[in-house]
Subunit: 141 residues, 2 copies
C-alpha cells in the first residue's frame, strides 16, 4: 500500500503522514524500488490508536514519548501504562468539565427559549458588557 491509499484509509493526509514520519510518530516506512513508501496494513492499527490519543487531546510530544518507549522494547510496558493512566485521568477530568459546561449551556439556552416564548424579544440573563451601550429595546414596529 502506498501513501495515497494509506491516506484514504487512515483519514490522514499524505502530507500529514510524511510529517508524522519525520517527527517520529510513524516508523520510517520501507521504500519500494522507486523510493516510495510501502505500507503494511498493520500501520492502520497504530494510526487508529494515535487518533484516539489525538482526539482525546494528547499533545504530539507526549505521543512521541509513548512511541519511543514502545520502540525501546517490551520492558517499557509499565512506563507506557503510566502515561496512558495519567492521560486517562486527564480525559476523565475533562469530560466532567464538559458535562458541567453542558449544564450551563442548557440553562442558558433555556432562558433564551423562555424569552422567545414571551414573544417580545427581551433578555434578562446575566449582564454582558454591552448592557450600558445597548440602545433601548427596538420595540418591534
Amino acid at each position: 500500500m502506498q501513501i495515497g491509499e494509506l491516506a484514504k484509509r487512515s483519514g490522514l493526509s499524505a502530507h500529514t503522514i510524511r510529517y508524522y514520519e519525520r517527527i517520529g510518530l510513524l516508523p520510517y516506512a520501507d521504500r519500494d524500488a522507486g523510493g516510495r513508501r510501502d505500507y503494511d496494513e498493520a500501520i492502520l492499527v497504530w494510526i487508529a490508536f494515535l487518533d484516539r490519543l489525538k482526539t482525546t487531546g494528547m499533545p504530539i510530544r507526549e505521543m512521541l514519548q509513548y512511541a519511543k518507549l514502545r520502540a525501546a522494547g517490551d520492558h517499557t510496558g509499565p512506563a507506557r501504562r503510566r502515561i496512558l493512566e495519567a492521560h486517562r485521568d486527564r480525559v476523565r477530568a475533562h469530560v466532567r468539565d464538559l458535562q458541567a459546561s453542558l449544564l450551563v449551556l442548557d440553562t442558558k439556552i433555556d432562558t433564551y427559549v423562555e424569552t422567545e416564548k414571551r414573544t417580545h424579544s427581551h433578555d434578562d440573563t446575566e449582564h454582558s458588557f454591552d448592557e450600558q451601550q445597548t440602545r433601548a429595546r427596538p420595540a418591534r414596529p
Copy 2:
C-alpha cells in the same frame, strides 16, 4: 477594579485581557483619570461565560460572533440561541467521542496491567512499527 486585580480574579492574564479587548471579546473598558482600565464586577460574569465557551472548545471567532450579536441588541436572542444550540450539540458529540476513547484507553491499560501481572515483561497487544527492530526481550538478569 483595575486590570491586575481583574486578572487575579478572572484567572486570565492582564496580557490576555487586553488582547481580548483588542479583538472585541471584552468591551472597551472605561479608563480612569490616568488612562487605566477600570472594571466593574459585572465583567467577571461575562468572562466566566467566555471561559465556559473556551473550555468547551468554541473558537474565538465564534465567541466573537456571539459577543457581537449581544452588542447588537436584544433582538438577536434567537440567533445567539442557535449558536449555543449548535455548540452544545458539538460538545455533546465530543463528549461521546471522549467516552468511547476512554473505553479504549481502559482496555489498553488493562492489557498492560495483565502483562505486568505475568511478571516477565511482554507485550502482545497490537503491533507497533518497531516490532521488527525490537531487540529480543532483554530477559531481566
